[in-house]
Point group: C3
Chain length 138, copies 3
């Protein structure tokens, strides 16, 4: 069994954004040399997400509006977590979008359906944060 590990770093200038990281993940997979196995990609921070969906700006605007309706950022005082921090909503939004994606590796490729793309979802940006890529297989 082979294993591979890489950290991807981000510094998103806005509080919230969605970044298509599929090309970076494909680079990791190539570098790993693994042909058959499983790939785990997870946010290493608890106010951001890794998720799989469509790379369509209208949908991303819908996600932003929907997440704000289900877990509003403000007023900050609505959350008990917000004493020294103001990011309770980011913990909730990340819960809705998910921490991680597990992807099958087949014949050296991400084994994806036609529209699947991997995104980094930032909900408390303006600072350096990380995503972990771990691949195991042969």
């Amino acid at each position: 069994m082979k294993s591979y590990r890489k950290e991807l770093w981000f510094e998103i200038p806005r509080r919230r954004d969605f970044i298509n990281i599929t090309p970076k993940i494909e680079d990791c997979l190539k570098e790993s040399g693994i042909k058959e196995g499983l790939l785990l990609c997870n946010a290493m921070h608890i106010t951001s997400s890794v998720f799989i969906n469509d790379d369509e700006p209208g949908l991303h605007a819908d996600f932003e509006k929907w997440l704000e309706a289900l877990a509003p950022e403000k007023p900050y005082s609505r959350y008990k977590h917000n004493t020294h921090e103001d990011n309770a909503d980011a913990h909730l939004k990340r819960t809705l979008m998910g921490r991680e994606a597990v992807v099958a590796i087949t014949q050296g490729k991400l084994d994806f359906g036609p529209w699947e793309q991997i995104f980094y979802g930032e909900f408390d940006g303006k600072r350096r944060k990380r995503v972990l890529v771990k691949i195991i297989g042969e």
Copy 2:
């Protein structure tokens, strides 16, 4: 390390439905011959889900009503994604229900608790769509 891959195809006649795919997954596992490892089962489309819950029709009706309350299908105009499409709600519903399940394989069986069953959740049906089963182990 052994690896196994299979696509399961569905064509659900309604827009939304939940299908118990546990027997099909068990068939895959038998076919793989893998006794110890991990099984990934994921929707290959971004408007459907794979999730684990109870096979109880009342609960499934509750899921349907709950998902419609949190991410309503209509009016289609409420979503920016719905220009050439009408399925933005399906992307959101799938986000709530999840893309994938990872299941432990122990002694050649799905290592499940007493009520765990795997479902395909369709949120934009009436066409052919796929689920991926990938198993790695020994």
Copy 3:
């Protein structure tokens, strides 16, 4: 390839609670002797969760209030599942929080960011329930 399996049992005296199980998972990992691989930790019951977030009591109070707003426990009659049972809300809450976490194992440790901790989320307690830990790797 090595594999390891352990059940962790809980009997939470309240209907709902969040328990930090990171030290127990670390014990499992040590016991397994696995240095590189993937660890799956999942609820074996469909009314409880395993998820990764922050060990901060204010945030946990926010989660409780938020889950009750999105999937209220009462009135029990609002759910079709609640004929012989009263736990439909627990199935929905567990769906929001997730069934499982997959964690990278690197150099014999949980490969975590600075604040990641693993929690057992109970939504229908007062009885004995289980979590599964499965590790594969080398």
